[in-house]
Symmetry: C2
DNA sequence: ATCACTGTTCGATGTTCATCGAACTGTTTT
DNA sequence: AAAACAGTTCGATGAACATCGAACAGTGAT
């Protein structure tokens, strides 16, 4: 039984807090990768950022608490997934504009 | 002679820094008001935020340095304008998504 | 049971930042 | 020239935050 980590209701998500979560190079890159809507493993080394795993855990928590992601627990591994459809309904076009803008 | 305040080239604007500038309640509200593309006076009291004018000057500077706005100096009054067309070309859909999302 | 593995939590540290008040710059008015 | 006006800049202060290492918790393997 995997009682997942709590996420805020999308209706309660504040745009300022969401932008705050996105305004970090590591977190923005995570969101860009997650934009495909699929779950991605949290495996710290897979992401290739030059920070400790505790720092990655902090960023994952920030994203989840801001309402951007959800965590899927499976045994001793965790996956992270963007709440894409909910986000698109609440903030139309926002995620899409990030994907394009982060390219350059 | 009004040599306006310097703005970064839009090509040099970093999405993370731009999001950082937007991730503040006062600055986001300013951008939403400025989204019509027209110049708006900086007159501190016109904006109705409960902060001192030096704080407003700080926010105006943050927006300009992030690449979001330009300042138009006219005598002893200043106006601020969103670089709407440049932003839309560089980050398509971003500003539009903020206007919608800030409503709720 | 013990060990290895994955990820979180906690406390500490240094940095960044929002805010304020005071001083300053440039402009218009008297 | 002097005073009033619109904004900026500066230094200080307190809060928020990114990062780290160590300790912890839960799960799977031996």
């Amino acid at each position: 039984m995997s009682s997942d980590y709590p996420v805020p209701d999308m209706a309660d998500v504040d745009l300022v807090e969401l932008l705050r979560a996105l305004a970090d190079p590591i977190r923005l890159q995570i969101v860009v990768v997650l934009a495909d809507g699929e779950p991605h493993p949290k495996s710290a080394q897979e992401w290739g950022f030059d920070v400790q795993k505790s720092t990655m855990a902090h960023h994952f928590k920030s994203l989840r608490e801001a309402g951007l992601t959800r965590t899927i627990i499976d045994g001793r591994t965790h996956a992270i997934q963007l709440r894409r459809s909910e986000l698109d309904a609440r903030f139309p076009g926002l995620i899409a504009s990030l994907i394009g803008g982060a390219a350059s």
